[in-house]
Symmetry: C2
Subunit: 290 residues, 2 copies
């Protein structure tokens, strides 16, 4: 990619659009900014890098007056990042961000609540194309932790992935298996424990959800990602299937949090969000004629 | 205001910020655009003008490459207009927009549901500063109709306020009284009918809400604003107090609508939204250095 940047830079108002999930793209972005190229990206990896690397990337964008939009990294086309940026830059104090960011785990929560055993639900989700090629990559919660870190960093928190208090969706011992088929077979052993957990929640009138919490002023971990039981009155209780949800509790939105929810994953909404980022950029450029 | 525009235009990157609810501001905006001044506005009036006048305003902005931001005209700082613009410009097909846009009427719905008589609830809302100086201006539903029209026009619908199928919150005969105190006294006569309506909804397991519906492909009225009964499973059923809500049902968001909710009125969130509009503008201008 680095080789084509000089050529791309000759186009009027060039934009590099990264729809990969590849590692190492931060170097491409830095080079792109240096060539006067803007970046629109759906790739979470560069945003979840250790803080110093991420700082270098943003510094390069600023130094060359280039734009780096990444709205689709959390909740696809749902207005999450830009909404948070607006809260921060208008001086609101964010007290808590709460969200369900994994369509896959949302689907599994629903299956488990309906009484389906975990291993069967995961296999079905895989067959439906809802999971990564290796379902472990969803069940580890790492993808949700990345999204939570992306939001936390918008608050100016200087934290890394290792600072996230991450409880996987399934017990950690199952996550070691590298072979997807063997992994699915082993998962049968987790069925009983998972069903018991869901039943225990049900007995308390609660529902299983996989939630991320960001509390910038917490004395303990500021980012927590874990399976939890929520009351029927909790906004996440009404989530269905792969629906995503984020609630911003702030000083201004203290009585009624600012809530965004809807389809938060999928090729079509992600593509739409990437296009919206590109058009936002194009609008700014249009403004330059004035 | 017109007199100061030439002076304002000499500032670098001038922005006219309209936090009034005054009529006639569209002429000021057109003149401002002509002077190279951008406009950020929380004023609904210019956006609800007859279509030809509104077209002229937008044409002036385009002709002079100026920006006109008005995010706070619907739902204060909630991301409503920009979210809708993104759906439209990325080619989504909007099937239905549903929303509760009046904090005042939301508050009244809650009071009535708790068994409070209408006239008492309105007087209390007035005393709390939740209503316009004359509560009629809230109870007529006109403010909600304006917001619905603003959203409908983002879809390219060429409609005017007179095209809105508007049912006021209270029977229309009460709205003629010009004196606020006399109005409140007369309203006692509406108490029985209103309580009966709420009780009838309750018997069906429904709750009173004041909702706007925009259905661009409807054969009948495309914009409807009316008090309705909603099921407990309806997203508006869980609205509390002055909370606002909007759901976008689109081709892409068909299974799970894109929903935004939270505090949708009040000086603090409106001011924050106006500031966010100004900063968005400033960011674009910053981009021009490149």
């Amino acid at each position: 990619v680095l080789d084509v940047l000089p050529e791309l830079a000759r186009l009027p108002n060039p934009v590099l659009v990264d729809c990969t999930a590849a590692a190492g793209m931060e170097e491409v972005y830095v080079a792109a900014f240096g060539h006067g190229i803007n970046v629109v990206s759906a790739n979470k990896q560069p945003l979840a890098l250790p803080q110093a690397k991420r700082d270098a990337m943003h510094a390069a964008a600023r130094r060359h007056y280039r734009v780096y939009h990444y709205e689709t990294t959390v909740g696809a086309a749902l207005p999450v990042i830009e909404t948070l940026k607006n809260l921060v830059r208008t001086g609101d104090r964010v007290i808590k961000i709460e969200g369900a960011f994994s369509g896959t785990l949302g689907f599994l929560c629903e299956c488990l609540t309906m009484g389906e055993p975990l291993s069967g639900a995961v296999r079905r989700a895989k067959d439906l194309g809802y999971t990564e090629p290796h379902p472990r990559d969803d069940l580890s919660g790492l993808d949700v932790a990345r999204k939570a870190l992306i939001l936390a960093r918008e608050l100016g928190l200087r934290l890394d992935l290792s600072d996230v208090a991450l409880s996987p969706f399934v017990p950690a011992e199952f996550l070691a298996e590298d072979d997807p088929e063997k992994f699915l077979q082993d998962l049968v052993k987790a069925d009983g424990g998972m069903s018991a957990r869901v039943a225990a929640f049900k007995a308390e009138g609660k529902l299983l959800r996989y939630l991320a919490h960001i509390e910038p002023e917490a004395t303990g971990p500021k980012i927590t990602v874990a399976p939890v039981g929520v009351d029927a009155s909790h906004p996440a209780a009404t989530l269905r299937g792969a629906e995503a949800f984020v609630a911003f509790h702030t000083e201004r939105y203290s009585q009624f949090p600012l809530v965004v929810r809807g389809a938060g994953a999928g090729g079509d909404v992600t593509a739409a969000g990437v296009l919206a980022d590109i058009l936002r950029l194009a609008q700014n450029i249009r403004g330059r004629k004035g």
